[in-house]
């Protein structure tokens, strides 16, 4: 079955300082996300999911040259960063989009859905 990455986008420092949600709202969002994960497991769509620490804790590494170049901070300079992600296993994009809508609703953030490469894609790339 096709696999999709569902990335969650948000500000670099969600944490307890985030002004947009109260503590109760955050707890409710955690509970909703947990319930969504349970549903994914039950229906056989769950591959992996987790939240990431703040983008400010990221380190960028360029190992293409002789010596690796290590830089503090995320690679892309944007206002919003990936805050977590799911990997799901579903029959097609329609199912993935339905689940992404539920995921977005549960975690209160925007979700991007992107398919993983398949063997056929790699064959086509090498053809």
């Amino acid at each position: 079955m096709p696999r999709y990455l569902m990335s969650v986008f948000g500000s670099p420092e969600p944490g307890p300082d985030s002004p947009t949600m109260t503590r109760e709202e955050k707890l409710q969002s955690f509970a909703d996300t947990g319930a969504f994960n349970d549903k994914l497991e039950r229906e056989g769509h769950f591959v992996f999911a987790d939240g990431l620490a703040s983008a400010l804790t990221a380190t960028t590494v360029d190992g293409r040259g002789d010596q690796p170049v290590i830089t503090d901070g995320p690679y892309l300079e944007t206002k919003e960063y990936i805050g977590g992600f799911w990997v799901i296993d579903v029959p097609d994009l329609d199912v993935a989009l339905t689940l992404a809508a539920e995921a977005s609703h549960a975690c209160r953030e925007i979700v991007e859905v992107r398919p993983f490469q398949t063997e056929a894609d790699i064959e086509a790339m090498l053809a």
């Binding site: 029959p91 097609d92 994009l93 329609d94 992107r114 490469q117 894609d121 064959e123 053809a127």
Partner: protein, 410 residues
């Protein structure tokens, strides 16, 4: 036209979507498109000399299927993986019957999938369902052929890579997804209708294409009210096309149109469709209400005979479904005919800040101010409307209306 070229034109019109749709289920969209094009090219070569086959549709499906399998064989020589794919696709079950299982409906929903950009949906729909060439679509939208080719190629690549399914959506999603399909067809219609100045004879007629697509959808989903609503709306609008632009290329408003130039057969067909919906007693969706308004307009022998209170009542129904400022603006135009220009102007005034950059707000204000004898304000409103529209037919119309205002000194 010879018998063969007539048969070819008819087959292309009637069978293209069916051939692509049937093949797409077995071989994917990309192979289906190329194989269908090759099959029609072969028909162009053979039919004039060999004669038109007894069953042109069947001949085309068989020929296209053979082309698709040939292509997969060629690909298979490059990769053993494709060989395996070929074995599977060769065992494809025969197509199911019944309208909801029609492959063309699957094709409709795939081409109009919400995960594709609107421009890509329009292009794919015209290519895969309408059978237009990439060159024709490019010309219709005034973009380079390579640009349009890339747009279609990218869309097909996304369909494949993202696994956009080839199927009719579930009951839960059907209504929303169908509304998206109808939006694509209506966009194609308006693109043709609003730009139909006829300056380019090689430009395919997008309004005609949209009506053909509307008829196809109506064949596939005869019981859906909004599908019927869209088809009748397009027919009742297009019936007035000949009267809508003057010989000098100026827009002619409904009020001033020569009603004798309207296409009575199209009006008859459109009105019958709306009456069927009204008789069904089911609640009317947005497109059906719009179609019903056009029934009122096309039923009036002269503009003065228009049943404006009926139009206002229909706008009230529309506002309940779609409470947008544009709907309120259009309602105000009808309201002027029932309660007078003063009442309408007050309503338009309440929309002024929201719709300040919309030329028809200012054009409407100008007409109402003119009727109230407030020429100076009307002139300023015409100026605003003129500055906001790029459509030459509308500009001519607005400029003439402005010129007809009583002069400042009077």
């Amino acid at each position: 036209m010879t018998d063969a070229s007539e048969a070819l034109a008819r087959a292309h019109r009637d069978e293209w979507a069916r051939v692509v749709a049937g093949l797409a289920r077995r071989f994917g969209l990309d192979v289906a498109e190329d194989a269908a094009a090759e099959a029609f090219a072969t028909a162009v070569e053979r039919w004039p000399s060999d004669g038109v086959p007894a069953n042109p549709g069947g001949w085309l499906v068989t020929t296209a299927t053979r082309k698709a399998i040939d292509r997969l064989r060629r690909d298979a020589q490059r990769s053993a993986k494709y060989e395996a794919a070929l074995m599977i696709t060769d065992d494809s079950p025969p197509p199911e019957t019944g309208p909801i299982e029609d492959d063309r409906l699957r094709l409709v929903f795939t081409c109009c999938h919400p995960a594709l950009a609107m421009q890509a949906r329009v292009a794919l729909t015209l290519r895969m369902l309408g059978g237009l060439t990439v060159a024709e679509i490019a010309r219709a939208f005034l973009v380079a052929e390579t640009t349009m080719g890339q747009r279609i190629t990218r869309a097909k690549a996304k369909i494949q890579a993202a696994h956009i399914p080839y199927r009719v959506p579930d009951e839960n999603d059907l209504r929303l997804r169908l509304a998206g399909v109808l939006a694509v067809v209506y966009l194609i219609f308006n693109e043709g209708y609003l730009t139909s100045s006829g300056s380019d004879p090689l430009r395919v007629d997008l309004s005609d294409e949209a009506i053909r697509l509307g008829r196809l959808l109506h064949t596939l989903l005869p019981l859906d009210g909004e599908v019927t609503g869209l088809l009748s709306l397009m027919l009742l609008t297009d019936a007035r096309r000949a009267a809508r632009v003057s010989a000098t290329g100026e827009l002619v408003t409904l009020q001033d149109q020569d009603r004798g130039a309207w296409d009575r057969a199209m009006i008859e067909e459109g009105q019958t469709l709306v009456r069927e919906r009204l008789a069904s007693g089911a609640p009317l969706g947005r497109l059906q209400v719009l179609a019903a308004m056009n029934v009122v307009h096309t039923s009036a022998p002269t503009a003065r005979d228009t049943d404006w209170s009926q139009i206002v009542a229909l706008y009230d129904r529309l506002a309940a479904i779609d409470p947008s400022p544009i709907v309120r603006l259009n309602r105000a135009v009808a309201l002027a005919e029932v309660d007078g220009p003063g009442v309408a102007l007050a309503e338009v005034g309440r929309l002024a800040s929201t719709l300040d950059s919309y030329h028809l707000l200012h054009a409407t204000r100008a007409e109402l101010l003119r009727r109230l004898g407030r020429s100076t304000e009307a002139r300023a409103a015409y100026d605003r409307a003129l500055a906001l529209t790029a459509n030459p037919a509308e500009q001519l119309h607005l400029a003439r209306r402005r010129a007809q205002l009583p002069s400042r000194t009077s």
